[in-house]
Symmetry: C2
Subunit: 333 residues, 2 copies
């Protein structure tokens, strides 16, 4: 079943803006949309600590308009959103630790700029269709597993609070101002084009870098359960959410079987890499304070409502990712 | 039972900062603390659309240090919080409608400045004790009544989203950084020194102004149930929350019996005023979009944990309020 083939015609010839479009998920989305014949523009700040990387557009750069701009630069927003049919809003600061050491920057990007983007849409392009990249982080430490969309929101770090506010603004503008928006609460997403320089985007990135470079990596804790979405499946979800009218005003979890412990994930990576070494250590104190314990999503709602199913197993996801960084390593470190 | 007498000694000689201290609840709190022998400083922006009014300190102004400053003016915050024993953090933009027409200002005050205040405390006075004025608005439209503290947070307007984030920051800083903070989720609070120029703080303000001026007032909807806290009782709660170690990191609803419909409240006001006229009309469209329907709080948790009980009945609350504005009207319009 490839539900996504149904939506490819939706985007042909359409004008599409992707914030954070040089980043991990944004660039994979941009590449897919270009393949569908969409007219894609990207906004990306290329802040070195974030996910943007021009290499992510290799092979398609000539078919995508790139604005190096920061969503905190409000005066630029009206001209960027004007005339667009779709906005995939993925610009964000993703590091939980950075959100604790520099909380105002996290707020300015994940909360304040989101409101500015929505205001720009309200005033300059109220018929735009928005899909917002939210995160499981807004749930905080789960009361129960798997976590469905009704789970209370009780974020455990500054990043989670600001993403919660950012998501809430999108749903509010959808309900009150009629700016059609959908929010996807992403779990750990993995695949080609993710940041591997450090753990700012995902710890899996830095593990894979170490593996490919032949260096040992560290697993913190190890027994926490997590689920993972392969980036192509996440892209499917963004496209479905944008294409389907019934997704307007809704929130959907993304997940992906199977749930695994971090230790098991590390073992699996070593196996697929044909070698590698890791050590398991206790959580550093600062990190432990904002840890959420086990998490995995109940993602049946988006399956039922939009027909989304993760098509990529964990083995294939990890294999594709390792293969990508084996050949592309030098562009990502 | 007057639990508050137990805490009066706690504050004698203590250094206390009240943000929004020229406003409605802030000034009543300041007056009470001065009476207990506390050394009270106030920060207030005196923005004309907000609650600050120098008249609110009549009779005690000489015993309170007033800084006319805006919490959005970050560089001033370190010197303000340094050396204080307690921070009652009440500065806020309260108008739901203004938050929809000027969302960024609401964000900058209710969300961004709150984080700046907490950062100032973390860096310059980490042993300060904070009580934050949160609001029932963060619950949104109730799933059930009465609303307890476990009710999901699903705010229906920009103000509610920003207050939710502001509250979350306080609880996070308490949990992660050890900045002892408590949040009180206020319902409609009424009493002397509230804003009556318009409905920006509470619709009851503008009703009372009309009554005292002998003009008719409008009741929108009319059948919504609400509960009300008299300001002296709210002040009790702030003091208890600050005094009791078991309140650290906690959230408490405030309420007050009896719940009444707005129509019944209007009738009661007319009766206590010995005359007055009101008309009931449908909600204006813009306002209806962000209405929450019926609301009343389950406030048993703060009763159980801190011994708070609202001591003032609705009749006395309204009588005191009418009497105050009969003699003080010219200072508030």
């Amino acid at each position: 079943m490839r539900p996504i083939t149904n939506v490819s015609r939706v985007f042909a010839g359409k004008r599409i803006l992707i914030t954070g479009g040089l980043g991990f998920i944004g660039s994979n989305l941009a590449r897919r949309l270009v393949g569908m014949g969409a007219r894609v523009s990207i906004v990306d700040s290329l802040v070195p600590e974030y996910g943007g990387n021009r290499r992510n557009l290799a092979g398609v750069a000539g078919r995508i308009k790139v604005h190096v701009a920061d969503v905190r630069d409000w005066p630029r927003l009206p001209s960027l959103v004007r005339g667009q049919d779709y906005l995939f809003n993925l610009a964000g600061q993703t590091s939980h630790m950075d959100s604790m050491s520099d909380p105002q920057t996290d707020l300015d990007i994940n909360c304040r700029a989101q409101l500015a983007i929505l205001e720009a849409c309200r005033l300059h392009n109220p018929t735009i269709r928005i899909v917002f990249a939210s995160t499981r982080q807004i749930y905080g430490k789960p009361d129960y597993l798997p976590v469905d969309e009704k789970h209370p929101l009780r974020p455990v770090d500054v990043n989670g609070i600001n993403k919660m506010a950012g998501e809430s603004f999108h749903l509010l503008y959808s309900r009150v101002h009629g700016i059609a928006a959908t929010a996807l609460r992403l779990t750990n997403t993995i695949g080609p084009r993710m940041r591997i320089k450090d753990a700012r985007q995902t710890f899996v990135g830095v593990w894979i870098r170490c593996l490919v470079e032949g260096r040992p990596f560290e697993v913190w804790g190890g027994e926490q359960l997590r689920d993972f979405t392969y980036v192509d499946d996440a892209v499917d979800a963004f496209l479905l959410a944008a294409a389907r009218p019934e997704a307007v005003g809704q929130v959907f979890n993304l997940g992906g079987p199977p749930r695994v412990t971090l230790r098991r994930l590390a073992e699996f990576l070593v196996e697929l890499n044909d070698g590698g070494v890791f050590s398991v250590r206790e959580f550093p104190g600062e990190r432990k304070k904002i840890d959420i314990g086990d998490y995995y999503a109940d993602d049946r709602l988006i399956g039922r409502k939009l027909g989304w199913v993760p098509r990529t197993g964990l083995r294939e996801a990890l294999q594709q990712t390792i293969a990508y960084y084996r050949s592309e390593l030098r562009h990502y470190v």
